[in-house]
């Protein structure tokens, strides 16, 4: 066979194989075989050197044509494949955007933590720092220093879990922290919130739990008044429930504050018109508060002639129940994931 014929065959073979290259990988394999450094086309070009002189010119011309043709075919094929790939990417048959996406696993805070955090944030803006105190307390801190003498009827309002160690109990409120922070900080003024768990010896029902959280607030200073207490709580409630909430301060009694008040907010569900949640009163009780009792100030080391203060307390679970329409407090600590995953 003449060398010309060989070249024609070679070109035909290259073009055939090129047509079979259906993706980039195959195309690259083809390129290496035919156009690579050790490829068949460069090999054919190299043959020029082994030919007799008189044949070289003609062969050279032919083999260059071959090389250019194969190179051009390669580039055309390459372009063709690129366009095909893009066309494929732009085809949308079978694409269904309603099929579920790939979701990362998500976690959440417990609703009590989330509510506590929200409350703490609001108070942080007003200069209240977080102070944490212990759960297992002495009778002295939980009651006596807070103006509940032994046998005092006000103790009946707080049924207590006692421990087998005499005069050691589970705190019934976060208020023992008032004494702890006062004794630690005297003679500085104080502006803190005290979040934490509290415990009451109460049958567990939809409305009462043996364990719950409280957030207590305590402010002690040289010029702290009941009017300041009202202003602080109004600012808090406006931020928690939205501007323009009505607050109602009702006279009440707590041994560690005087005067004492219970605070209602106009029902966030019915706007005060009356509904099942507010028991048709239009009001929801959300807080207890008052001016720190002089005995309590004194027990904390502050002279009530010189200092005054206010304190308030609220239950994040109660607030979360109102905010989220939860009608059973037992959900909070049974930790049923079907409950927790809704927040």
């Amino acid at each position: 066979m003449s060398q010309h014929q060989e070249l024609i065959q070679l070109q035909a073979q290259a073009e055939n194989e090129l047509a079979d290259a259906r993706d980039e990988k195959q195309l690259e394999a083809w390129r290496i075989k035919w156009l690579g450094r050790k490829g068949l086309v460069p090999a054919a070009v190299k043959q020029i050197g082994s030919l007799p002189k008189e044949e070289r010119a003609a062969y050279g011309q032919a083999v260059n044509q071959l090389k250019q043709a194969v190179q051009a075919a390669f580039e055309a094929r390459q372009q063709q494949l690129k366009e095909a790939a893009m066309a494929a990417e732009l085809r949308s048959e079978g694409f269904d955007p309603t099929l579920p996406g790939r979701r990362p696993q998500i976690g959440r805070l417990h609703p009590s933590s989330a509510t506590l955090r929200e409350i703490a944030h609001i108070f942080a803006h007003m200069g209240f720092e977080v102070y944490t105190a212990r759960d297992v307390e002495t009778d002295e801190y939980n009651f006596q220093l807070l103006n509940f003498p032994k046998g005092h009827p006000a103790r009946e309002m707080q049924d207590t879990f006692h421990t087998t160690t005499p005069d050691v109990l589970l705190r019934t409120h976060t208020s023992p922290g008032q004494i702890r922070v006062m004794r630690e900080r005297y003679p500085e003024p104080i502006r803190v919130i005290l979040p934490g768990k509290c415990y009451r010896y109460e049958q567990v029902t939809a409305r009462s739990e043996m364990m719950f959280h409280q957030v207590e607030g305590l402010v002690v200073g040289k010029n702290i008044t009941f009017a300041d207490l009202k202003g602080t709580l109004q600012a808090f409630v406006d931020q928690l429930f939205g501007e323009g909430r009505q607050l109602r301060f009702r006279a009440s009694h707590f041994p560690f504050t005087e005067p004492s008040a219970e605070v209602d907010v106009d029902c966030i569900l019915c706007g005060g018109k009356g509904c099942r949640v507010c028991k048709y009163t239009g009001w929801l009780e959300i807080l207890g508060c008052g001016m720190v009792h002089p005995n309590v100030l004194r027990n904390g080391g502050y002279d009530p002639e010189e200092w005054s203060g206010y304190a308030f307390g609220m239950g994040p679970e109660r607030i979360a129940m109102l905010l989220h329409g939860v009608d059973d407090i037992r959900y909070f600590f049974s930790n049923d994931v079907r409950f927790l995953e809704q927040f």
């Binding site: 805070l109 009590s112 005092h152 702290i224 009017a227 300041d228 006279a251 600590f333 930790n335």
Partner: protein, 850 residues
């Protein structure tokens, strides 16, 4: 305290509408928990108002309205036998219309021949309570034939009117009831139910509420001190009183009511007691209750003749009341028929023969009044409130009397209550009263004068009131006032024991001035020094990190059972912490919640147990306290802040795209810890050492921070899993103390310069002895490679052919990068040689040929 408006109006003028009065009382600290409308229409503003239809069941008493057009005061004209029924009568009623109406009734208290009685008469169409239904079901009265006779109305029982359960007979109204008047006008009422705070025991009486209403609404009061008609011989001839333990009994008064006849009380006495929630018993007993609810003074009536008989039996001819502590172990039968064993903290009312009552708590069976009683010794006393409270609690004998005594009855009320009670008994029982009162009063009620100034009001309440305004408020509350320059000296009225310091007076000023009238101000006081609470911030940071890692936060009870800890020691239950290692509740609600938890892992297992009923995948964490008495100060336990992580179930629940249903295991829990330490910047200081613990199987590690153990991570032992009923899949659990991590959030991370030179990746596979931990190999590589090693990832662990038995191949991917130059092949080859050389020397590692 239930307060009928009709009774209250006897002592104070009330012009406010009911709903407004309710609001004013509530704001002033007399929280109206409920308002009951007895036969009358609630005001339009009452929100729960709804139209009542036949068939509705109403709760409580009095929740139907007595139609003024259909229910009247009637008078019995005549009563005749029903011609066809023995038990029925035909009653003709005049109810103010021209024609009287004849109706059929079965009431046993109307007999043929009767006439003249005043009754409650309902005509057809009236809504009444069905007397024969179980619940208070409303029905509409329809005319009908009863045994052939047409009946177009009904003579009503209390039950039919919704007044009480009583339907044995019909109501007989007082003789002066106006015939033809709508019943609602005559008997209709409104009853407030007021919650009483412990400091406000003075309102546990109608008069007490009336005083508050007067102060709050500035309405006039009409309270007259009771008086009595007495005759000789004097009470002192009948009995003596001696208080021995005057620390527990501050005053004891006794009067003698003679020759009374026991019988039912008149209509209005009974009616008021019923409205207030008491069952009428007999005139003598009813008087003691009536005076208690009217004035707040509990009374006790002894049968004087029984006392005298006891005295005579021991050779005395006069009764002597002795108030003393019980002897330890003394026995006494209370009027409920129960024999009780007493201790020396119980105050007893005794005579010379022994105890006759538990002071302030309950009378004795032997000397109580009965239908045969003719002479009464009436006690009106004041006891130390804490002691009464303790006794009533100890003996489980709550009562209206003990309730008042245990909050403080002022001694000065004793004679008032006694006079009122004795006179009422004489009035209702037709007797007379012996002259004078026997009165032992060893501890006079203190009179406390409290100073208050304009400045106090301003400083404490934030309002500017003039001296006159302050005085006016206090006088509305019947304080005695004395002014000395700028100081107001205020003395609380005699019926109050709750005012002893300036703050008590300030509270009263605020209450009457109105909390709603006090302005709202923002804190103007200096801002206290601000500090960060790092422990709290750490907790919050951990919550965010763990939630971002896909874990759900839980909060479990702090209380658990020791038994749960025993379950975590499947092989050696005797090694489980004993009771001394727990804070134990003296009064748990249940055994499952009887000790404070030492760690959070047990709570996590309990939590999984509950939830695995509904779901097969759990990835949860909790941050909370563990309670360790052995580390405490001897009284209080140490409370340690802990974190627990629990994982079980499929790693990535499959969906249509992909999924990894293989169960989460040790490495998932460890991965969460790694991410957590990474985020805190603590990774370099953390080490995991192979070690197990009772709760884990062999796949477990101790977690060390700077060489100190801070926790564990591992797969829960299959036996523990079984004990908590957690199924067959691995449960990975980690527990950490978090306080040691605080320094990491206090230090700011320092930026490592970002190199602009290319990074070079190198893979290296090493064959090492099975016993050599991968962590050690990685650490050696890190040490050897130095600062240019930017990252090291273990990407394969291989055992088996061609690796010889007892060996494993660990494949690492190393990333090298220099901050100052482009690393050449030569540079990396040198590092690689260095690494292989050192590993070969120190741990006998061999480079695995590709």
């Amino acid at each position: 305290m239930r307060v009928p408006l009709s009774w209250l109006k006897e002592y104070v003028d009330i012009t406010l509408p009911v709903d407004e009065l309710e609001e004013r009382l509530t704001l002033a600290g007399l929280e109206v928990a409920n308002v009951e409308y007895v036969g009358v229409e609630p005001p339009a503003s009452v929100r729960f108002k709804k139209q009542i239809k036949p068939g509705d069941v109403v709760t409580g008493n009095g929740h139907i309205v007595w139609d003024k057009e259909k229910i009247f005061v009637g008078q019995v004209v005549s009563v005749e036998k029903h011609p066809d029924a023995d038990r029925l009568t035909l009653v003709t009623i005049n109810y103010g219309t021209e024609e009287p109406l004849t109706v059929v009734t079965g009431a046993p208290n109307l007999k043929p021949g009767d006439g003249g009685q005043k009754v409650a008469f309902a005509t057809a169409g009236a809504m009444l309570i069905d007397a024969y239904a179980d619940a208070f079901k409303v029905r509409k009265l329809k005319p009908g034939k009863i045994r052939g006779i047409l009946s177009q109305g009904m003579v009503c029982s209390e039950r039919e009117l919704g007044l009480s359960d009583e339907h044995e007979g019909i109501i007989i109204l007082p003789d002066d009831a106006p015939v033809g008047a709508p019943l609602a006008d005559y008997l209709g009422d409104v009853v407030f139910d007021i919650d009483i705070t412990p400091n406000m025991i003075r309102i546990a009486s109608i008069i007490g509420v009336a005083r508050e209403v007067a102060a709050i609404t500035e309405a006039p009061l009409h309270i007259d001190m009771p008086t009595w008609q007495t005759s000789p011989p004097p009470a002192g001839d009948y009995a003596d009183v001696e208080i021995i333990d005057d620390d527990l009994c501050h005053r004891y008064t006794a009067s003698i009511v003679r020759d009374v006849a026991v019988g039912p009380s008149p209509f209005w006495t009974q009616h008021r007691l019923k409205l207030i929630g008491q069952r009428p018993i007999s005139n003598l007993v009813d008087v003691t209750n009536y005076v208690m609810f009217e004035w707040g003074q509990p009374l006790h009536a002894f049968d004087y003749d029984k006392l005298l008989a006891r005295a005579k039996a021991i050779g005395k001819d006069k009764v002597k009341i002795i108030v003393r502590r019980a002897d330890e172990g003394e026995k006494f039968t209370t009027l409920d028929g129960v024999e009780r064993t007493l201790d020396a903290d119980v105050l007893m009312i005794c005579d010379e023969a022994g105890p006759i009552a538990i002071g302030g708590v309950m009378g004795g069976l032997e000397t109580e009044v009965s239908d045969e009683t003719r002479n009464v010794l009436l006690e009106s006393a004041a006891f130390e409130f804490i002691n009464v409270r303790q006794t009533a609690k100890k003996l489980k004998l709550p009562s209206e009397a003990a309730y008042r005594f245990s909050r403080g009855v002022p001694p000065r009320l004793n004679p008032i209550g006694n006079v009122r009670g004795a006179q009422l008994m004489a009035d209702l029982g037709g007797g007379d009263i012996a002259q004078g009162m026997i009165d032992d009063y060893p501890r006079p009620q203190p009179v406390i004068e409290v100073p208050v100034t304009e400045r106090d009001v301003q400083r404490w309440l934030g309002i500017d009131l003039s001296q006159d305004e302050i005085i006016d408020i206090l006088q509305r509350l019947e304080f005695d006032i004395r002014v000395e320059d700028d100081v107001i000296w205020a003395t609380a009225p005699w019926y109050r024991l709750d005012v002893s310091i300036t703050a008590d007076v300030l509270e009263e000023i605020a209450r009457i001035y109105g909390y709603d009238a006090i302005p709202e101000t923002l804190l103007a006081d200096e801002l206290p020094p601000q500090r960060r609470n790092w422990a709290w911030e750490l907790e919050e940071r951990l919550r965010d990190i763990l939630a971002a890692a896909g874990l759900q936060e839980t909060i479990n009870y702090s209380m658990t059972a020791i038994e749960n800890y025993r379950k975590t020691f499947p092989d050696n239950p005797e090694d489980a912490p004993g009771p001394e290692m727990f804070v134990t509740l003296a009064n748990p609600l249940s055994q499952e919640r009887s000790v404070m938890r030492r760690c959070l892992g047990v709570s996590a297992l309990e939590n999984l147990q509950r939830n695995l009923r509904y779901t097969d995948r759990m990835a949860v964490f909790e941050i909370g306290l563990g309670y360790r008495p052995e580390l405490g100060d001897g009284v209080l336990p140490k409370e340690i802040r802990l974190l627990a992580i629990a994982l079980t179930g499929p790693r990535e629940p499959g969906n249509w795209l992909h999924g990894d249903d293989s169960p989460m295991d040790f490495f998932d829990a460890k991965g969460v810890l790694e991410a957590l330490f990474e985020r805190l910047g603590a990774s370099d200081d953390v080490e995991y050492r192979a070690e197990s613990a009772h709760i884990f199987g062999p796949k477990a590690a101790g977690v060390y921070l700077n060489g100190q153990k801070i926790g564990n991570v591992g797969e829960v032992h299959p036996k523990v899993r079984a004990a908590f009923d957690l199924g067959d899949r691995p449960v990975a659990l980690a527990g950490l103390q978090i306080a040691p991590l605080i320094p990491y959030i206090q230090t700011k991370k320092h930026l490592h310069p970002i190199s602009n030179f290319p990074a070079v990746k190198e893979d290296i596979a090493l064959v090492v002895d099975e016993a050599i931990p991968a962590g050690k190999v990685a650490a050696l590589i890190r040490q050897t490679a130095g600062a240019n090693l930017k990252d090291i990832q273990l990407f394969d662990v291989y055992r088996g052919d061609p690796i010889p038995p007892g060996k494993k191949s660990l494949a690492f991917s190393l990333t090298f990068q220099s901050p100052t130059k482009t690393l050449t092949d030569k540079d990396t080859a040198r590092l690689r040689r260095k690494i292989v050389g050192r590993l070969s020397r120190e741990i006998g590692a061999e480079l695995r040929e590709a």
